[in-house]
Amino acid sequence: MKLTILTAIIGFALLVIIFELMRRRQLREKYALLWGAVAIVVVPLALFPRLLDAVASVVGVASGVSLVLFLGLVFLLILSLHLSWEVSALEEETRTLAEEIALLRTEIRERADSDQR
């Protein structure tokens, strides 16, 4: 029973943090939706860890808790892959901006120089 209390507290804390971040507009909507869905899945599981036992036996996993652990790992892997992809795209964008700024500053200096003459 003790474990259930622990997982329930963590589940609710997660829900509160996600909600608070969304409320303060610190999370982009696409992530907010993702994490909102995660919270909705996590909280019932935290209260009733045996909830997935039936599903687990269907796919051949010994207990529901193991299934949750496995799915959690898969989810985190996909998520970190997605974040790497996201970071690559952002780097490309900042690179383009940096080049654009350098070009503009060069242009401005050239114009200023030719005005002086």
Binding site: R95, A98, E99, A102, L103
Partner: protein, 233 residues
């Protein structure tokens, strides 16, 4: 102007205050009438100011992007200012500007020219994994380009207007990507790549690495980038 073509020399430089002035002056002395653009890749020393005093146009990146970022900026500048040819020259003084007219002339027959060591001129030698990497690249890229290329990682290259247009939009930022991937992309899209033999000089500053571990990593990266660029869209 070289042979009626507007030529821009692009010199990517990162913390090169020791030799950038000499390189710029030499280029301007040997090649009067060409544009000289130094791309300062986020240097923390006085590279930009010194290059400007030596008479180059300086484009200054707000932070270090690597050679790829600096070169795409160079090609974009060349494209927007209507240059017919962009020649890349290294800031460490190893590329002799007297070869530039030779590279530019060779563009009559091709879209992209590599100034190549090992092609009969000069006495540049490498050993070990680095040599194998260069050998592998030469064989694969020569076959892909249906020509004989002996020095595919040379940084002394010239591009015509058509190639400038492509490289101004697309230029890989990773190390080695900027040489190997560019060649593969150009060849796969039907651009004609040829080489011209050149002699390279000892660098004025900095020393090339000869550690076996670094050479092995170099071989691995070269292979990886080559394989990747072959399957990329």
């Amino acid at each position: 102007m070289i042979n009626g073509r507007r030529v821009l020399i692009v010199i990517p430089a990162w913390n090169e205050e020791a030799c950038i002035a000499d390189v710029v002056r030499e280029v301007r002395g040997e090649l009067p009438g060409v544009g000289v653009l130094v791309v300062d890749d986020g240097s923390t020393d006085h590279t930009a100011a010194i290059a400007g005093e030596a008479g180059a146009t300086v484009a200054r990146l707000p932070y270090n992007l690597g050679v790829g970022g600096a070169m795409r900026l160079g090609y974009r500048y060349g494209y927007e200012h209507g240059y017919d040819v962009v020649v890349k020259v290294d800031a460490d003084g190893q590329h002799d500007p007297r070869y530039v007219p030779k590279l530019v002339d060779a563009l009559d027959e091709a879209d992209f020219i590599i100034g190549a060591r090992f092609a009969g001129e000069g006495d540049y030698t490498v050993k070990g994994p680095r040599k194998w990497a260069m050998r592998m690249l030469s064989i694969v890229l020569s076959r892909l380009g249906r020509t004989n290329l002996t020095d595919t990682t040379s940084g002394f290259v010239a591009a015509n207007r058509r190639t400038i247009e492509l490289l101004a939009q697309w230029y890989p930022v990773e190390y080695l990507g900027d040489t190997i991937e560019v060649l593969v992309r150009l060849m796969r899209n039907g651009y004609k790549v040829r080489q011209v033999p050149v002699t390279m000089r000892a660098r004025q500053a900095g020393i090339p690495s000869h550690s076996p571990i670094k050479s092995t990593i170099y071989l691995g990266r070269a292979f990886f980038i080559l394989a990747l660029s072959m399957v990329r869209r």
